[in-house]
């Protein structure tokens, strides 16, 4: 009887798959720290207008390129004398939007295309994957510039062009992961139980392929932010004087010899954001992997 009780106690508590993932990721300190940092960045960007900050657009000829720690300008000022702290926090709005939105959109579209291509195989696979290959023929920067140029400058258009740029690589990854899972015996068994393609994909495929696709997609967010900065620099993305980290990095380039610390701040923000995103997605991936 004692043995039975011990066995019963050892049996893990029953919870759904995604509830289990959340439970496991919340026990991962690195992932949680990254999550907190990201939340702080996102919330401060959203609620920037309510924070006690200076006007991010107010320039001053006298207070140009003040160093970090100057009275009234905690993180110094940029080449036009605008407060860096305010610009960095306000800049988070556009940067995070441009960095995350295209990847999120591409994640859904690319995963759907890739999973269908990988599961269906044959002609469907050929049609989807060869179409995707056409996009691969262009370097991603060039493709983004071409689409943005065709659509015209503006934030919405750069979101669209960046989404299109990231669909092909995500589709490729999703397809290769799915075709690996498709030949597994448990998919055969599910089909033998009478499951149609949609049910089998929903119950048996998605849970087993989403992890790797997710990790790959999250690694694209930092690339996406840098691409967006490039678009802004070329005049087909965000336009000055809008604060945006990539654009700020570009405009502060010339100040790198005079005040390197201030010039590096937007880059530091991009670095912190993408590092946190990568570590958080790593944590999520291992939480999705029930075997570990």
């Amino acid at each position: 009887m004692a043995v039975a009780e011990i066995e019963l106690a050892r049996t893990p508590k029953r919870r759904g798959y995604w509830a289990g993932v959340l439970h496991r990721v919340s026990g991962d300190p690195v992932a949680m720290v990254c999550f907190v940092v990201l939340m702080a960045l996102i919330l401060s960007a959203i609620f920037a207008s309510w924070l006690p900050l200076q006007d991010p657009y107010k320039a001053s000829m006298i207070a140009r390129l003040k160093p970090i720690g100057t009275e009234g300008h905690l993180l110094g000022t940029d080449e036009q004398g605008r407060d860096m702290l305010a610009r960095l926090i306000y800049g988070g709005r556009l940067t995070l939007l441009i960095g995350l939105m295209p990847v999120v959109v591409a994640f859904f579209i690319g995963s759907a295309l890739g999973i269908v291509a990988g599961y269906a195989g044959g002609r469907t696979n050929t049609i989807i994957m060869r179409t995707v290959d056409v996009f691969f023929a262009f370097p991603s920067v060039l493709l983004a510039i071409a689409i943005s140029g065709a659509l015209g400058a503006g934030i919405v258009n750069s979101l669209v062009s960046l989404s299109i740029v990231f669909i092909p690589p995500i589709t490729r990854v999703a397809e290769s992961v799915t075709s690996g899972v498709r030949s597994a015996d448990y998919i055969e068994a599910a089909r033998a139980s009478g499951g149609n393609a949609l049910t089998v994909m929903r119950v048996h495929v998605i849970g087993n392929v989403l992890g790797p696709i997710f990790v790959y997609a999250s690694s694209l967010t930092s690339v996406c932010m840098i691409l967006a900065a490039g678009l802004s620099f070329l005049g087909v993305g965000v336009k000055p004087p809008e604060p945006e980290w990539g654009l700020m990095l570009n405009t502060l380039r010339s100040a790198i010899y005079m005040n390197p610390w201030v010039a590096a701040l937007p880059g530091l923000m991009i670095f912190i954001t993408s590092l946190c995103l990568n570590l958080l997605s790593d944590g999520l991936r291992s939480a999705m992997n029930v075997k570990d």
Binding site: E7, L8, T11, P12, K13, R14, Y17, A184, D185, Y186, E188, A189, A190, R191, A192, S193, G194, G195, T199, V203, H204, G207, N208, V290, K291
Partner: protein
């Protein structure tokens, strides 16, 4: 051991498909099944060759029996199993389930309710991200059977896994034997009449294998199931089967009641297969290989009798004419496809009642 009638049946699984043809009607009849896999090559992906995986296989599975299927790797056993459960469509031939032909009187969906399969690799055949209970309940749920969870738990009880302990576990938290029990439970949860066991116990260690075999025997007796048992282990096949079917290179070479085939093998290939069984007696060591070489390539199978390239009794007739399955000796049940047993074939040993030897004399 060779009982062909359904044994004393005490119960059936809920929602089992009704028996239509009565006990004399075979549960499954396969007629001249063919499955050829194309091989594409070149830049344009043209078909350059064909693998004759299953080439004209006919057999029947009687109600309540266990049909053992044996043969070398690559002889088409697993392809036959996949054809049988409708995972792949045959290029030619018919599958008739309880008198109803697949594709005419019976849909694939209905066939899948009637036939389920247990795979060899107990780990690969369970979704690593689903709990055991969810895996077992998947089939009943998507087929709209009532109370999938209750069924799953009942099936777990039947295969000897306590639901309170195992229902919430993931496949990697169980041993190989336990996982194979889960696979059996999953197959049974669909209330099938026929279960195809494709090397279902081959990957288990011997003591666990024996337990699972006994479980399978008990389930068959209690629930009136029919098994097709695919294996390369002749001892296991002898233990569990009523009849045995021997395949070579996509064809049936011999079929018969298990005791008759074990007593006297009519086909030279079967004889060699049995001679390759390790003996428990040190005085009967296998010193000469019963057969040499590999089976010929199924892309380009030999003409006539497919075994003639490795057969030590092969003569000219074997390379030119294809032998048909004919009754062997006095038995009506025991059939073999060999010219030696066809008096009109022109083989020098034909009609002499010669029994092929497994090893070179």
């Amino acid at each position: 051991m060779s009982q062909h009638t359904a044994p004393d049946q005490t119960e059936t699984l809920p929602d089992t498909l009704p028996d239509i043809g009565g006990p004399a009607q075979p549960l499954v009849v396969c007629r001249d099944l063919k499955k050829h896999f194309p091989i594409h090559g070149g830049i344009l992906g043209r078909q350059v060759a064909t693998v004759h995986a299953v080439d004209g296989v006919s057999f029947e599975v009687r109600k309540g029996e266990t049909l053992g299927v044996v043969g070398e790797s690559g002889c088409g056993k697993s392809t036959t199993a996949r054809l049988l459960i409708g995972l792949i469509a045959p290029d030619e031939g018919k599958i008739i389930f309880d008198g109803q032909q697949l594709g005419e009187e019976m849909s694939l969906r209905e066939l899948r309710r009637g036939i389920q399969m247990v795979f060899q690799d107990s780990y690969a055949s369970l979704n690593p991200r689903l709990t055991v209970e969810d895996s077992i309940a998947f089939g009943p749920r998507i087929n709209g059977l009532d109370d999938p969870r209750g069924r799953a738990r009942e099936m777990m009880n039947r295969v000897g896994l306590e639901p309170a302990r195992f229902a919430g576990r993931y496949p990697h938290e169980m041993s190989g034997g336990q996982r194979q029990r889960v696979n059996i439970a999953r197959a049974l949860a669909m209330s099938p009449r026929l279960v195809v066991l494709d090397e279902a116990v081959s990957a288990l260690d011997k003591s666990v294998e024996a337990q699972v075999l006994n479980l399978l025997n008990d389930l068959r007796r209690d629930l009136g199931l029919t098994y097709v048992f695919i294996s390369h282990d002749l001892n296991v096949v002898r233990y569990i089967s009523d009849r045995v079917l021997v395949m070579y290179l996509g064809e049936v070479v011999e079929v018969g009641p298990v005791d008759e085939v074990y007593a006297a093998q009519a086909h030279p290939y079967t004889a060699s297969l049995f001679a390759a069984m390790p003996s428990m007696d040190p005085d009967h060591r296998t010193t000469v290989p019963p057969l040499s070489g590999d089976p010929p390539n199924p892309i380009d199978p030999p003409t006539g009798c497919r075994f003639h390239t490795r057969c030590r009794y092969a003569e000219d007739v074997c390379a030119s004419a294809k032998p048909l399955l004919r009754p062997f000796g006095d038995s009506t049940e025991h059939c073999a496809a060999c010219h030696i047993h066809d008096p009109e074939s022109g083989h020098s040993l034909a009609g002499s009642g010669f029994l092929p030897k497994g090893t070179p004399q």
